[in-house]
Symmetry: C2
Subunit: 102 residues, 2 copies
């Protein structure tokens, strides 16, 4: 069992600060922009659009309303993992997959 020392560990934020500079610098801004596509809201929106669904149709499948979907796609809300699971399973069927399970 390999032991890792505390000092070896750094958060993603620390790492990004070191690699791309602090927020506000040009280099960091470029990174942040590219990073957008890893954001959950973006991923879900892309998947929805690829399937030609409206927010309302997705909401219907998932069992919620379009307002909530909109907020998620715009990264306005933190969500529970169970909610993400539900969105992916009910909303996207086999078209998206979540590798973890609560």
């Amino acid at each position: 069992m390999k032991t890792v020392k505390n000092k070896d560990l750094k958060s993603l934020d620390q790492f990004v600060d070191e690699q791309y500079g602090k927020k506000g610098t040009k280099k960091r801004d470029i990174f942040e922009k590219g990073y957008e596509e890893f954001k959950l809201g973006f991923i879900l929106q892309q998947a929805r659009l690829e399937m030609g669904m409206t927010q309302e149709e997705l909401a219907e499948k998932v069992g919620t309303n379009k307002g909530y979907i909109s907020r998620i796609e715009n990264n306005i809300k933190d969500i529970r993992i169970s909610t993400l699971q539900r969105i992916i399973e009910k909303g996207f069927g086999g078209h998206l997959e979540l590798a973890i399970k609560i």
Copy 2:
């Protein structure tokens, strides 16, 4: 833009029911057992043990208490994605990665 019909979509639960039978049947039980290792709690616990951390040490890094960590590892709690992110970043440094970002 490819269109997918509603009837083509099924939830993971539906899929598993069809493939392995309903809960309680032998075939399904075997599946459920194998499935354990995809559960978040299991994944986090494995990672923690591989790094030779105690729940208390992990809790310290993440900024919470060992009771909370215990519940997560035992899949007793649903958690927010931001919380998962924090656990992975602060608790595991570069040793685990989360592909999505809130």
